[in-house]
């Protein structure tokens, strides 16, 4: 019998199971302390079996973050309509709150990834630069159409939006599960717009 490959249904299912369990373990323990054998066990595989799908721990981590990005992008694609990129950013933050382990994972992983030797260091740098560029373009567009109230430097306004989302997410995880960081982010965005009230 041939070994299952990533293209068979069974292989695809096992890969998906490994990614789910890896998300859980990395979000709780971080990448460095996250145990590959614990992930394999939770996914019903031997460690050797897991390494058939992902050659090493770093490759597994990259698959986890790529899957998270794909899921967020897919959700945005489905729901975007004609709303501005800034509103869609707030919606993505809202959506991500509901994904189990995602908020914890991205919090721990983005902090760990500040180390240049971390396997997702380059990935996070690129992700943040892309996000800031997209949001800065959105701010500039709203300034040109007269929707944005102030003369903010677009990149700084974009960094402020991203920073708020990340910083409030951290506070939510530090003992305040009731904290609706997406709603606070929306309040900030509305305050920046013409006719909005200062929060």
């Amino acid at each position: 019998m041939p070994r299952p490959t990533r293209t068979t249904p069974k292989g695809a299912e096992a890969r998906a199971r490994v990614i789910t369990e890896a998300t859980r373990v990395f979000s709780r323990d971080g990448y460095r302390a996250g145990s590959l054998s614990r992930i394999a066990e939770a996914a019903g595989l031997t460690q050797q079996g897991l390494l058939h799908y992902f050659p090493n721990k770093a490759a597994l981590l990259l698959a986890v973050v790529a899957e998270r990005e794909r899921s967020t992008a897919e959700h945005l694609e489905r729901t975007s309509g004609s709303r501005s990129v800034l509103d869609r950013f707030v919606e993505a933050v809202e959506h991500n709150i509901e994904e189990p382990y995602l908020v914890e994972l991205m919090t721990v992983l983005s902090a760990e990834s500040t180390d240049p030797d971390h396997p997702t260091h380059a990935w996070f740098l690129q992700r943040y630069d892309d996000l800031v560029a997209r949001l800065a373009a959105g701010v500039l567009e709203e300034q040109r159409s007269g929707r944005w109230a102030g003369g903010a430097e677009p990149e700084q306004a974009a960094r402020t939006l991203v920073g708020l989302a990340d910083g409030l997410r951290l506070q939510r995880l530090l003992g305040h599960p009731e904290l609706d960081h997406a709603a606070l982010l929306r309040t900030h965005l509305q305050a920046m717009r013409i006719g909005g009230t200062t929060p």
Copy 2:
């Protein structure tokens, strides 16, 4: 000859050396993956020698964060004058940028500490709740004196300030060392005040 205790000059010096090296290692590798034997070696001690000063890794971590808080508080005490608590918060963020490893340490540690089993989980919860309470009192005071422009809920305004500081700090560490997160925080604070311009 008696064993040195933490009250002898030699003991105090060794303790300080261990705390410096632990700050360096934990800020790069995180707490979980940070190696006690590497810290001991860098401080010129055996692991057994290190454990004479700190009974375990968690106790060492708590000493590290307590030392960081003490240093920040001391700086604020020296420089506070009559400025409001909100301005002093921005000054503390400014001051901390200059402390080697502190920005990295607090970023990685606060994210790791979202796990309830982490040794500094309770410490970070308390630290954030205290900080938010102090800043919320500052916002309320500025609202009463007519300095604050909007009718924000003080706790939400305080969480926004703290969130911005943390979120922008993360962006600084993700490939943008030129990013002056304290200056952006100050811009946000000024925009909230009467006569300030929207950023």
